[in-house]
Assembly symmetry: C2
Homo-oligomer: 345 residues x 2
DNA sequence: GTGAAAGCGCTAACAC
DNA sequence: GTGTTAGCGCTTTCAC
């Protein structure tokens, strides 16, 4: 006659973890009430809230977000797709994204596409991530595959593109103009009176756009064509050294180099010293990114400052706004950039 | 009279995404058969497999892993907790972890605890992650809070600690001996004939252990006590420069410095040059980590090579083995380290 | 303010 | 090899 939970024909007791059900029982309320006490405490009487809180404490209850996400179709997961984390470029963005999301109870899932073989890696990665039903996806850089773009639209998941200013964004966007950077550096070089420019550039799409704008500006200014050395992304100090060696062989009279990353610039600086070429007197060097070491190099590196952390925060903000039903007033933000002049130019 | 899906009393159509149900219908089989076709194709007849595959294709079905995880109590999510990603130290580990997991259909969730205020951040972060019911948790460094350790044990989630060789591991472990590193560098310094040693060390626990072993070895070798400059973690180039400045003021006759990160070493190298102190002739410099720039600095940096990527892969391997029911033959791996002698010593 | 019922989309368990 | 049934643990909808 006792109502002990009879081990009925089919037992399938799940993980063994404490469930909301048990919390509710202990608190003497219905499960749904316990749920409300946790998710919208203001809609529940103070006593009930107290009893539920106690039950949670004493049982060590940790809500199962898989179940919650399934029931509510809000997973509170956000996916980020980065080409790579090898270069420290996207690092800050990922970092601030992780943090900003965590503060709001969201978690970040990380996916890397790799610079090489973008089509396959990207598509597969994206499908894997969509399977988790994230509440949003943050892209660093643009999506290469048209199929991927389509899939994203179909899934109707809020998307934030970062690190670029695409003309036809998939959805939301926070970035800056790479062409603008190229032109700004060119203007700066003109103002400085540099005549023979060079560029050491990674072969990723964004870097190429900076490079092109930079080269065009040189022509427009009536200067000799820019000598360019292309290096594989992600960029390393080593590539910078090699690039400068190559450069000086072909064009010894170069007087200013724009590097597509601070790491490359460090390489150029290093090689210049090894070759006894004084910076900035006989060679001006400009970086990109303003990584934390740039200001403290010898000579201190002039560079283009990009606020990666701000991009991460803004992306988090965009997605959370959307999830909570708010329509962000503007879903395209140009966070700009800033030229930082230091000793190397 | 048509049988259009009548909006019955309770409609709650979820996300609107294609479900396994629809795939099954289209393929003319039961849902569970469709499920099997996707998860264990070898247990299903070729024709059925074909029909299901086609249905998946034409409908653009992406399995809902939230639901799958809930039903099977296997989320295929792995959580990683890092103190920070600011220093590039853990970067490689996170990177290779992400990749190794993705190859097996697992995704990584990232959580940062921050070096400061470890107790609160860590506990909260951990609870948030456990709520996702990950199949495993990877820790970089040790857990500070006892409550956190307890919570982990209670949750019965496979845990891999990395970057350290704790005496009483929570579960699985892949790391190396920081004391061993300190002693090895000391042995090397002795062999080189350096007499007055110094150390520039971050204030994180692992760095402190390297420092202590290093200092003790100096005493054991009958050398003057090691002069130590402590800098806040995460370490930066700037701290390295400041530290050397400080060091040379108090102890101008120092002839060898061991830095607790390559970034610090770069700072020391930079400051040494700024002060006209020749490396390695008047000051030997040793780094830690063998980051990708170390080999190409001028002078090339001697350092302690740590295979962060291998740790990530091993951690992924450990967790997946455990999830699939295999008991790894040995759940503690010392991946060691390697002294790399270059020009800076 | 609280609760009962009915799913969310999938898979484990048991048939046949 | 395939299907039926009954959940996984939570939240939505509707009712009081």
């Amino acid at each position: 006659m006792s109502l002990a939970p009879s081990p009925s024909k089919r037992s399938r007791r799940g993980s063994g973890a404490v469930t909301l059900h048990e919390v509710a029982q202990r608190a003497g309320v219905a499960p749904i009430t316990a749920s409300r006490a946790l998710n919208s405490p203001e809609r529940v009487s103070p006593e009930v809230l107290q009893r539920v809180t106690e039950a949670v404490q004493s049982l060590g209850y940790v809500p199962n977000r898989l179940a919650g996400g399934l029931a509510s179709t809000r997973s509170r997961l956000v996916a980020a797709l980065v080409p790579t984390m090898a270069g420290p470029v996207f690092l800050q963005t990922v970092q601030s994204l992780t943090q900003a999301l965590a503060e709001q109870g969201y978690q970040l899932m990380l996916g890397q596409t790799g610079y090489s073989d973008p089509q396959t890696g990207e598509d597969r990665m994206l499908e894997a991530l969509i399977g988790r039903r994230p509440d949003g996806i943050v892209l660093t850089g643009t999506l290469h595959s048209a199929q991927a773009r389509q899939r994203l639209q179909a899934a109707a998941i809020p998307v934030v593109e970062t690190w670029d200013l695409s003309e036809r964004p998939i959805d939301m966007l926070v970035g800056f103009s790479h062409e603008g950077v190229g032109r700004a550096v060119a203007d700066f070089f003109v103002a400085k009176g540099f005549r023979q420019w060079a560029m050491v550039a990674g072969d990723d799409p964004r870097s190429l756009r900076r490079q092109q704008a930079f080269a065009e500006a040189a022509v427009a200014a009536g200067l000799p064509p820019v000598v360019t050395v292309s290096v594989p992304a992600p960029t390393h100090l080593k590539s910078g050294r090699q690039a400068l060696r190559q450069l000086l062989q072909h064009q010894p009279d170069v007087d200013a180099v724009f590097c597509s990353s601070d790491l490359l610039a460090l390489g150029v600086l290093t090689e210049a010293r090894a070759q006894g070429r004084a910076v900035p007197d006989r060679l001006a060097v400009m970086g990109f990114g303003d990584l934390d070491f740039a200001a403290d190099l010898e000579p201190a590196l002039s560079t283009v400052q990009i606020d990666g952390a701000a991009m991460g925060r803004q992306a988090a903000h965009f997605i959370i706004s959307r999830v909570e039903g708010r329509v962000p007033p503007c879903s395209v933000v140009d966070i700009g950039f800033r030229l930082v002049e230091r000793a190397s130019t």
